[in-house]
């Protein structure tokens, strides 16, 4: 079989148009720059005596207009590749781009549904709805949702399994056909094969799943730790504040990369250091929720008791299942006393380590942000009103200050998921990631970089994927900040 071309049957039509659009855009940009330097200005709107408006167009306006239409044409071509690729009858006519677009069909459908629904009801959806007033926020949201949906539908989207090896496909270029495809097997490696003969496209999709499984949860835990410590530090101040801030600064001054290397070395893992750290870090969510319910409902003992008991039971079972690992006899005794039948799940060693290091690196920064916000908010009138009513300090912190700090916190949450993704990628890049076989993006970049100058195709897709996800999260955060500042 012939290898696939990038653009399939649509290529001869769309490629020249796209190239022309690019050239026009570049020409427009250069001439705009030259004209601006030469002193030409864009035309102004003038109000005529008869109350009509006229805009006189200068050469700068024409240059800008050329750039705008070229950009639109370029986007139209991209859409053409995707839509055209999806409707083409055979895989040969679809090409690589069309083939990928066709595999991603469920993702496109889900994206369209989400956008149509959200835009229709955006006035009733609060801050989330307002996001759809900002183009930047929409682009960011789209990128993030793209990766979320492709992770959710990874089983349908991916053409092969993440660790399926076909040894003849080692380092094959994108669009290579399989040597002897079986029935029901996808007959091509859309983005080529990596150095072991695994499908790069499928690994990229499954890698997204891997990344999105870890980063939001890790960020959430970092927030729990940061909020639980930052609220009292900012609210009470004094010695408590000084000591927690000192510890946070200590953790912040610790070079991230050194910490990763120290935590992930097998000797330190054998000594149980990550386990002890997880013991400390995972207790914070339980403390947070117990205090949250207790401060709110302590005037209604029956309700309070029920909620606190439920939190404790669920939280502690999960906590002990998480930290204890009875099967591993090398573990220190403290991690093996939890009875086996109650040990609901074990986390594979490396995931726990990666998780703990990422949470540990993120939480001091969250702590500082929360503390700063609390210092600002605690001078507000509604806090004084709460204090006059005789509310307890924890009620004021958790039910008065925290809800009012949600804007900056949500924005920071988005940014921080992006940052966590970068950290996770860094771990993978140094071969300290989840597991050597894992398709997560950092590890795949690490594998691909060895032969980068000869075979660029295995490292490039995960790199671009990671970049687009982080970019999406940053743009989303930017859009959210802009919209939340408007009111």
């Amino acid at each position: 079989m012939e290898p696939l071309t990038w653009s399939g049957a649509l290529g001869p039509i769309l490629n020249p148009i796209m190239l022309a659009a690019l050239v026009v855009f570049a020409l427009g940009f250069v001439s705009n720059l030259l004209l601006t330097i030469a002193g030409a200005r864009a035309g102004d709107v003038q109000i005529n005596p008869d109350h009509t408006l006229t805009i006189d167009r200068t050469p700068v306006d024409y240059a800008l207009m050329a750039m705008k239409y070229a950009a639109l044409l370029f986007v139209a071509c991209c859409v053409g590749y995707i839509v055209g690729g999806m409707v083409m009858p055979t895989i040969e006519a679809r090409g690589i781009i069309g083939g990928m677009a066709a595999r991603l069909t469920p993702v496109w459908i889900a994206l369209i549904v989400v956008f149509v629904l959200s835009i229709t009801f955006k006035r009733r959806l609060g801050l989330y709805g307002k996001l759809f007033d900002s183009p930047i926020g929409m682009v960011g949201f789209g990128l993030v949702m793209f990766w979320i949906f492709s992770a959710a539908f990874a089983g349908i989207v991916a053409t092969h399994g993440p660790i399926d090896v076909i040894s003849q496909m080692r380092n094959e270029v994108p669009g290579s056909p399989l040597p002897s495809p079986e029935d029901g097997q996808y007959a091509y490696y859309l983005l080529g094969g990596d150095n072991l003969g695994r499908d790069v496209f499928s690994r990229m999709i499954y890698g997204g799943q891997e990344v999105l499984k870890i980063t939001p949860v890790a960020t959430l835990f970092a927030f729990m730790v940061g909020v639980t410590l930052g609220l009292p530090a900012g609210y009470f101040g004094g010695k408590l504040d000084t000591s927690i801030t000192f510890i946070a600064n200590l953790a912040l001054a610790f070079p991230v990369i050194l910490l990763f290397f120290l935590l992930v070395t097998p000797e330190i893992v054998a000594a149980g250091v990550p386990q002890y750290m997880s013991m400390v870090l995972f207790i914070f969510p339980i403390i947070f929720f117990v205090v949250l319910f207790n401060s709110r409902y302590h005037t209604q003992p029956p309700k309070r008791n029920m909620l606190v008991a439920a939190t404790l039971v669920i939280g502690l079972v999960a906590y002990f299942s998480l930290i204890s690992n009875a099967d591993d006899p090398d573990m220190p005794l403290i991690f093996r006393i939890w009875p086996e039948p109650l040990d609901l799940f074990d986390i594979q060693g490396n995931i726990l380590i990666v998780f703990v290091s990422v949470v540990f690196v993120n939480s001091p920064t969250v702590f500082r942000i929360v503390r700063g916000i609390v210092l600002d908010i605690k001078t507000r009138d509604y806090v004084a009103a709460g204090q006059t009513r005789g509310e307890g300090p924890w009620y004021i912190m958790l039910w008065e200050i925290l809800p009012n700090a949600r804007g900056p916190l949500i924005v920071d949450f988005c940014l921080r998921i992006g940052y966590t993704t970068i950290l996770l990628g860094t771990l993978g890049f140094f071969g300290l990631g989840v597991s050597p076989e894992s398709p997560d993006w950092g590890s795949t970049i690490n594998e691909g970089r060895r032969l980068l100058t000869i075979y660029p195709h295995p490292a490039l897709p995960p790199a671009l994927a990671l970049m687009s996800l982080v970019l999406g999260l940053n743009l989303l955060a930017d859009g959210l900040r802009e919209e939340s500042l408007k009111d």
């Binding site: 930047i136 000192f246 600064n249 200590l250 001054a253 610790f254 070079p255 991230v256 990369i257 050194l258 290397f261 120290l262 070395t265 097998p266 000797e267 330190i268 054998a270 000594a271 250091v273 992006g418 970068i422 990628g425 860094t426 890049f429 140094f430 950092g442 970049i445 691909g448 970089r449 980068l452 100058t453 000869i454 075979y455 660029p456 490292a459 490039l460 790199a463 671009l464 990671l466 970049m467 982080v470 970019l471 999260l473 940053n474 743009l475 930017d478």
Partner: protein, 362 residues
């Protein structure tokens, strides 16, 4: 002011002490020492043999004492073997036991001996830091002016088209970590099979087979050239640039809404003069802090870039030391890293107070 600096330095020293102890603790855990004994002695040692080896080589005592020895505040250990030869922490090879100093640690400038490279740690670290210093210098020389320019251009007219496009660029650059931009740069500019290089070489516009070199190894021996050093410098500079540019933009935009700028406009000062003479000075105070605080981030970047481009500087040494269980070298690396982080924090705190006339420390 003097008291403020004194207190900051005190906190810094305390932090340094805590952090070095944490690193010392983590690198001197029993499994690390056991591995060290087995690589230095015999891979098939029994537990008892490991314990006696550790005892003979001064790893036996309590952790806090060994930390003191390493720091140079507790006298180094000495031990007399059965045949009368005296060994000790401070007794280097070929040195008479009587001549050896009592203390030898960080405070005396003795960083120990690298077990893997078979050399004094101070010798290794010195040369490697020099290489990294060159890389950092060029990265800063590219990053700071470019970031300030972008930030000022974007911030002088908030919401304009220039602002939008430059801000998007800044966001994109903060979303591109070094290991992504490095990979993209290598593929685009330094690969003989993909990107721009084959096309340029075919037309005879470049001399070699690639536009830039994907490895900076030759920069260490043959000197730095545009060809071998552009990509590492660009890769480091790009990630840090976006953040500084965004901070500069925010600060510039804030200054441009200030009363005195409006007064200047109403007086009829030209826009160019407003930006250059009135706004720029005040807008550059906040970015100073940010630039200083970029050093710790650059440290991670340097480790990634040196690994990616095979440049044997400080970051590369850190990776090697960590993966080879080279305890003394790793400790020295972490000292340098912690020192860089803390000193830049100190400079940024003090510099901010000096630069900003609105802050007065009583």
């Amino acid at each position: 002011m003097g008291l403020f600096i004194l207190r900051r330095v005190g906190v810094m020293l305390l932090t340094a002490l805590c952090l070095t102890f944490v690193v010392f603790f983590l690198t001197n855990l029993y499994p690390n020492l056991e591995k060290l004994a087995k690589t230095q002695g015999n891979a098939r040692m029994t537990d008892a043999e490991v314990a006696s080896w550790l005892d003979r080589n001064g790893y036996g005592g309590p952790m806090i004492l060994r930390y003191g020895e390493w720091l140079g505040v507790v006298p180094g250990w000495t031990r007399e073997a059965d045949d009368g030869t005296v060994t000790g922490r401070c007794i280097d090879r070929g040195m008479e036991p009587g001549e050896a100093p009592a203390f030898c640690g960080l405070l005396q400038g003795d960083l120990g001996f690298s077990t893997v490279s078979d050399d004094e740690v101070a010798n290794i670290i010195g040369g490697r830091l020099g290489y990294t210093g060159i890389l950092m210098f060029w990265a800063f020389a590219v990053m700071v002016p470019a970031a300030l320019l972008i930030g000022v251009l974007a911030g002088m007219k908030e919401g304009s088209r220039t602002d939008r496009s430059l801000s998007t660029f800044a966001i994109a650059s903060t979303a591109t970590p070094e290991y992504v931009s490095g990979v993209i740069f290598i593929v685009l500019l330094a690969s003989s099979t993909a990107g721009l290089s084959p096309w340029l070489a075919e037309n005879g516009w470049i001399e070699g087979r690639t536009l830039f070199l994907g490895s900076a190894r030759s920069a260490m021996e043959g000197g730095i050239t545009f060809w071998n050093f552009t990509l590492p410098v660009m890769t480091i500079a790009l990630y840090g640039m976006g953040y500084i540019a965004r901070m500069t933009r925010a600060s510039m935009a804030e200054v441009m809404t200030a009363q005195y700028i409006r007064t200047a406009r109403l007086k009829g000062v030209s826009f160019r003069n407003i930006v250059l003479k009135h706004a720029l000075r005040n807008a550059l105070i906040a970015p100073f802090t940010v630039i200083m605080l970029q050093f710790p981030w650059l440290l991670t970047g340097v480790v990634i870039v040196e690994t990616l481009f095979n440049y044997n500087g400080f970051g590369w040494t850190l990776v090697q030391a960590a993966s080879n269980n080279d305890i003394e070298l790793l400790l020295a690396c972490s000292i340098v890293a912690v020192f860089v982080v803390l000193v830049t924090q100190l400079i940024s705190d003090i510099g901010y107070v000096f630069l900003n006339p609105r802050i007065r420390i009583s």
